[in-house]
Amino acid sequence: MSVTPMIEADLVCKQFGRNEVLKGVSLTVQPGEVMCIIGPSGSGKSTLLRCVNHLEQIDAGRLAVDGELVGYRQEGDKLYELRENEVAQKRADIGMVFQHFNLFGHMTALQNVCEAPVQVKRVPKKQAREVGVELLTRVGLGDKLDAYPSQLSGGQQQRVAIARALAMRPKLMLFDEPTSALDPELVGDVLKVMRELAQEGMTMLVVTHEMGFAREVADTVVFMDGGVIVEAGPPAQLLGSPREARTRDFLSRVL
């Protein structure tokens, strides 16, 4: 294969105490690909996402982002654990959007977006501001630049969170159930922004319960249950005619 995969997971395992959350997960995400992960809660979807972003350390297996191991540096056949600032550097290239938005409560929408570029990438304030205004306008919040998170609806907050992640010019975007905490009528605006992002060629790994979005936008849909990937395939096949009984069972309950 000539192209380096954006994400390459090989038999990734993760456990919290005695609780095995990931029991050997393998998947590959190509640059520009949109992958949706579906599955019941507790199936390890969010943990997988957090592992990709170095927020959790994996216990076994191999996980690489853009050809580089997550959390470790390989020299010869020895692995060295990365230092904290090295990990931080890698995280800076990966955007992450959380279920509960996690906007910084003491900052305006624009300050939220400008914070990391200025603090982490040392972008001049003026330039960061210009980019911030442009990004917020793009997600439809050009008139809410100076609003604080508490003054915004959930859908607006989530769009600010997406703009905040994009401000770091990430090569990969991770979405952890971005619409699960939203009122139904606010879901559409967020999905619209994500759809546009996918069309622009952003590599995206999306944990979601929005089957419509998965069907329409994803290149690949993965069904996880009990810490393993049960089945993966193009959306039409996986959502339309799943091979596995567990997948059929799950889909019959959510669709």
Binding site: L55, A92, F98, H100, H106, Y148, A165
Partner: protein
């Protein structure tokens, strides 16, 4: 008669109050005239200034040490976190009066203070402890280091009150642990940290009186010096008490408004301040909007968890 219990209680309270007031006025040994003479005595006022100076300096030292200790306490490094835990254990576990005396006699323990590199050049700079450790330094060390231990727990509680998601979001953006703490967590922890810090300041103001044991001429010791000359012990203790009451009252009022300000976002409508209540009684129909109706930067924090 309804509520006869209340009438009886009120009567008893009035009776006790009246007899107390009568004894305070008729007992000459209170020497209220002397209290008046010394209330604005220059030595007393100098002591008052020193008390205020010491309170401010010790609180600044305490807050700085407290923030440092709290961050150390939350460190993933067990040695760093353990060191902070040990400090807090040591300084909270011994009376501040004992600590003050220890610092006062530090010269007996270390006659010279040597600064340098351990083992290689141990005494690069050598200072005579008796000249460097003035009573003010002793007071500052005693009160500041002790306060640091208490502030550490307050700051730690504040830091822990900030939702974990804030840290996750900052980390996901590539911010370092220190950046996350300084830019994201501490500013939001302030709402929890500020009110108890106000309490600590009021408490510190009174605790400075302990420094009188090391002959530092703050308010209490200044009063003691005067009554050791003229034997008007009670009036001068009353003078000191009046000044302590004045200062704690002023600080309490400041504390009230501070808590109001940092409590915003928790309840929609703030209760009226005593001043606003008085105004609405005196000027009927003239209601001013409460602060919560306006938007300002600090009100944003409470919106989401």
């Amino acid at each position: 008669m309804r509520h006869y219990g209340r009438w009886v209680a009120a009567f008893v309270v009035l009776l006790i109050a009246a007899s107390l007031i009568r004894s305070v006025i008729t007992n000459d040994r209170f020497e209220w005239g002397v209290v008046g003479d010394f209330l604005f005595d220059s030595r007393v006022l100098d002591g008052l200034v020193l008390t205020l100076e010491l309170t401010v300096c010790a609180m600044i030292a305490g807050v700085l040490i407290g923030v440092l200790l709290a961050i150390m306490r939350l460190s993933p490094n067990p040695l760093v976190s353990g060191a902070s835990g040990f400090y807090i254990w040591l300084f909270r576990g011994t009376p501040v009066l004992v600590q003050l005396l220890f610092w006062n006699f530090i010269a007996a323990l270390y006659p010279t203070i040597d600064l340098g590199v351990p083992f290689l050049a141990p005494d690069l700079i050598s200072l005579n402890a008796n000249t460097v450790i003035t009573p003010f330094v002793v007071a500052l060390l005693g009160l500041g280091l002790n306060e640091g231990a208490y502030m550490a727990e307050i700051v730690r509680a504040g830091v822990l009150s900030v939702p974990e998601g804030q840290t996750h979001a900052a980390q996901a953006l590539g911010m370092s642990r220190l950046q996350t703490m300084r830019r994201i967590v501490l500013p939001q922890a302030m709402r929890v940290i500020i009110p108890p810090t106000g309490n600590e300041t009021i408490s510190m103001l009174k605790t400075t009186s302990l420094v009188s044991v090391i002959a530092y001429a703050e308010l209490l010791y200044a009063s003691q010096l005067i009554y050791s000359e003229n034997y008007r012990t009670i009036p001068l203790l009353i003078v000191a008490s009046i000044w302590y009451l004045v200062m704690t009252t002023i600080l309490s009022i400041g504390q009230y408004y501070l808590e109001r300000r940092f409590g915003r976002g928790h309840s929609r409508e703030l209760p009226k301040t005593p001043f606003q209540r008085l105004k609405s009684v005196l000027v009927p129909g003239h209601e001013r909007p409460t602060i919560s109706a306006q938007r300002s930067p600090d009100s944003a924090g409470g919106g989401f968890a």
